[in-house]
């Protein structure tokens, strides 16, 4: 066969490919129009907000906009020794402009975060400008160094230079309990103040265990659902789906009633003499409560993918396994179980991803030791109003999910996922 493929023409002499494209264009347009509303919706409510979150989380334009001339001059400064006269005068004129707009206070506060002592240093300069003590025809560098000795220290100028980039990853570092030290290196916060790392680990731990519990409970249920006669399996399916038909808040609240110290479960334990009345175990407002409530709520997300996969496994495969001499366990482990892996993968991934970002349930039943990173995000959204930090943590969560998805893809293969 020759390597040059001969162009195939239709009877009218139009190349076949062109003709095919033309014939299919209409279908493609139709298909696109069908998905267009959803696509638009996704762009507006998903892609755009994520982009917005990202820019917000790294946004550090405030100082960049306040000191435009300074940063322009600083481009020529090596940052090792005290900057030249041009930088000083650029800063002086930038600052003067801020004084006129009465925004100099913000700059002082922001720079003070970067290096202690900046507040007083800038205030001294402000007073000198107000009293018009600076002679703009003479060397501004020398005058400023006289105003405050800190202006003569290279560290302070280095701190200003650090704020030059309009974007910063500081919020992300904060999310991992780290910060940029004065010399630009990354440092850890003190051990007793590392709250975020604990939350991340706890979130991972709870999501992992909830996934494991859901799997352990969901697998047999899904198997029963797939193998029972229709009459019983429908009833069981309703039981599995019942949580979906009840409000999340109602379910969580009922767990609170059941699990609290004076609750139904504890009363029962006392009644049968399992625990003494004065030593009722705490099952609410800690991890136990979070585990129990989240497992119950997320169970259907494990059962449904498993069920849909198991439903497709022919019962004759297990029979074949047994008739070929495998014990029921061998037939299950070598034949049935491997065939359910796509369902296990889908279910675990679904439950884990949902669990890792779970919010309401841990907020209500979690107490102090059962809250997750999502609760921390909500706290910064609503209470401290540090939206850029909340955005940064949200994106870290999203990245984490994507990483898990990637690992899963490497291990099992996304093509093997079966949701139905």
């Amino acid at each position: 066969m020759s390597s040059e493929a001969k162009q195939i023409l239709t009877t009218d002499g139009i190349p076949l490919e062109v003709s095919l494209k033309k014939a299919e264009r209409k279908n493609k347009i139709k298909a696109f129009l069908l998905v267009a509303p959803l696509l638009l919706f996704l762009v507006i409510t998903y892609i755009f907000p994520i982009g917005e979150m990202f820019t917000r989380s790294i946004d550090d334009k405030m100082i960049t906009n306040m000191l435009p001339k300074t940063f322009k001059e600083m481009e020529n400064w090596d940052g090792q020794e005290l900057p030249p006269e041009e930088v000083f005068s650029a800063f002086y004129y930038d600052y003067k402009a801020l004084v006129e707009k009465q925004e100099h206070g913000k700059l002082g506060q922001r720079l003070n975060k970067e290096k202690n002592g900046f507040n007083s240093t800038t205030k001294r300069l402000f007073r000198n400008i107000k009293r018009k003590k600076i002679d703009e025809s003479a060397s501004i560098k020398e005058q400023m160094m006289k105003v405050h000795k800190n202006w003569g220290k290279v560290e302070y100028w280095q701190a200003i230079k650090r704020t030059a980039p309009p974007y910063t990853l500081a919020k992300y570092l904060k999310g991992m309990d780290m910060y940029f030290a004065a010399d630009g290196s990354i440092a850890q916060v003190d051990e007793d103040r590392r709250i975020h790392r604990i939350l991340w680990l706890r979130t991972l731990e709870i999501a992992l265990f909830v996934t494991v519990f859901c799997f352990l409970m969901g697998y047999p249920i899904a198997h029963l659902l797939a193998t029972l006669p229709m009459k019983y399996s429908n009833l069981l399916m309703i039981c599995v789906l019942l949580p979906f038909w009840t409000s999340l808040l109602v379910r969580t609240a009922s767990w609170m009633i059941l699990l609290q110290q004076q609750g139904v479960v504890n009363d029962f334990f006392v009644m049968i003499g399992l625990v003494a009345d004065d030593s009722r175990p705490e099952m609410m407002y800690n991890k136990v409560g979070t585990y129990v409530a989240m497992t119950q709520i997320l169970l259907p997300f494990m059962v449904l993918p498993l069920y849909s996969v198991m439903k497709t496994i022919s019962p004759s495969l297990m029979r074949a396994g047994k008739s070929l001499g495998g014990t029921p366990f061998v037939a299950f482990w070598k034949v049935y179980f491997p065939l359910t892996i796509p369902g296990i993968g889908a279910g675990c991934l679904l439950v884990f991803i949902l669990a890792i970002g779970y919010y309401i349930t841990p907020a209500l039943v979690g107490g102090a030791s059962g809250t997750l990173i999502s609760n921390q995000i909500a706290y910064h959204m609503k209470t401290t109003l540090d939206w850029s930090f909340a955005s940064a943590m949200g994106l870290m969560l999203l990245t984490g999910v994507l990483v898990i998805y990637w690992i899963y893809n490497k291990l099992v293969g996304v093509d093997n996922i079966k949701l139905g």
Binding site: S323, T327, A331
Partner: protein
């Protein structure tokens, strides 16, 4: 080695799923060692249930099943050592052909070298050498079928059960597989219990055929006898084509009886009729009735051609004969072919020996 004529024995086996209806009624069936026996019957006749009981996936409600003299009702399926080929092959989709075949050997803790040898032998038996690393999904239906057969045979079971194994194949492939399975059976001499609802499959392959209907074995005999000498009208109807006349016995002799039809009388061979006045259904194979017979025949009638259908190797002629317009004739395609035209009158004759007077329908 003398063959055990009761290698597999169903002894008074009943089976009911709901406690109300018997799916299998008082089944008494002996299968000889090395025999190829087919359970043939319409769907719902209990044949697959019998197979499942033998395999161990269903338990008899009453009675015993014996394998080589031992009662097996309480032995779980994986200890029975019975190979099985399933309707949809039931190949393990996540294992290669090699792994599928090695499965029964691995669970029996056979040595690796031995496994390789046996798998190789089984694959060459179904002429699939070189397919070891393929996945079942990469094989055609016929190849999957062969792998399933090889897998059921690879651990040298005493009995192999086949549950409509060729049902999913197209006609040509089915026919060639029939011969292939038959040849495998002949070359290794394993006992095969085969279930099908396809009568031509049963006739081609089996040593003996058990025709099932309504939970009972209607007739158990070799293919030729089954076709030539059906014992009741169900078997006559189910196996092959059949012309029937319903009537009443008016006179009966040792090997002849007179049957009165609506407005005529024919001579027939009394099989299940004993006395005068009994109702009967007379069954006659289409190929046993001849047009313008040269020899003297004791049934000679004139019919009118209603329809002529060309079938290539033969022509089917539908006649209006003795008050029925459903009488079928098969005329072989030969050079001395008669001119057959619709609404032509022709003379038909058959021997009373071939017209079997059976139980009434």
């Amino acid at each position: 080695m003398s063959k055990n004529p009761e290698f597999v024995k169903f002894d008074k086996v009943d089976k009911s799923y709901d406690g109300k209806v018997l799916v299998v009624k008082d089944l008494q069936l002996d299968i000889a060692e090395g025999e190829f026996i087919t359970m043939l019957g319409p769907s719902g006749s209990g044949k697959t249930t019998c197979l499942m009981m033998l395999a161990g996936f269903e338990t008899p409600t009453h009675g015993e099943i014996l394998l080589d003299g031992n009662i097996i009702s309480n032995i779980p399926p994986h200890k029975r050592g019975i190979g099985m080929v399933f309707q949809n092959y039931a190949l393990f989709p996540h294992m290669t052909v090699y792994e599928n075949l090695a499965f029964p050997l691995r669970v029996r803790k056979v040595e690796k070298d031995e496994i390789d040898k046996k798998v190789d032998k089984a694959l060459s038996m179904v002429s699939l050498n070189g397919f070891e690393t393929r996945m079942p999904a990469q094989l055609s239906g016929g190849q999957q079928q062969r792998v399933a057969v090889a897998r059921a045979l690879v651990f040298d079971p005493a009995v192999v059960l086949m549950d409509e194994p060729l049902g999913a194949l197209d006609k040509n492939l089915r026919e060639s597989m029939q011969y292939e399975i038959k040849h495998i059976h002949e070359s290794i001499g394993v006992t095969v219990v085969y279930v099908t609802h396809d009568q031509s499959e049963a006739l081609t392959m089996s040593n003996r055929i058990a025709v099932f209907n309504d939970g009972k074995v209607q007739q158990l005999s070799d293919p030729a006898e089954l076709y030539e000498k059906p014992v009741n009208s169900f078997v006559a109807e189910f196996i092959g084509e059949n012309n029937t006349f319903n009537g009443e016995v008016t006179d009966i002799d040792k090997d002849k009886c007179k049957v009165k039809l609506a407005n005529s009388e024919i001579l027939a061979n009394p099989i299940s009729v004993k006395s005068k006045g009994e109702k009967t259904t007379v069954s006659l194979r289409p190929e046993r009735a001849l047009i313008n017979p040269k020899d003297k025949m004791d049934n000679m009638f004139t019919g009118k051609i209603e329809e002529v259908i060309y079938h290539g190797d033969h022509t089917r002629v539908r006649l209006n004969l003795l008050g029925s317009s459903e009488f079928i004739l098969k005329v072989p395609n030969s050079t001395s072919n008669l001119e057959l035209k619709v609404s032509q009158d022709i003379k038909i004759g058959w021997n009373s020996l071939d017209a079997r007077a059976l139980d009434p329908k």
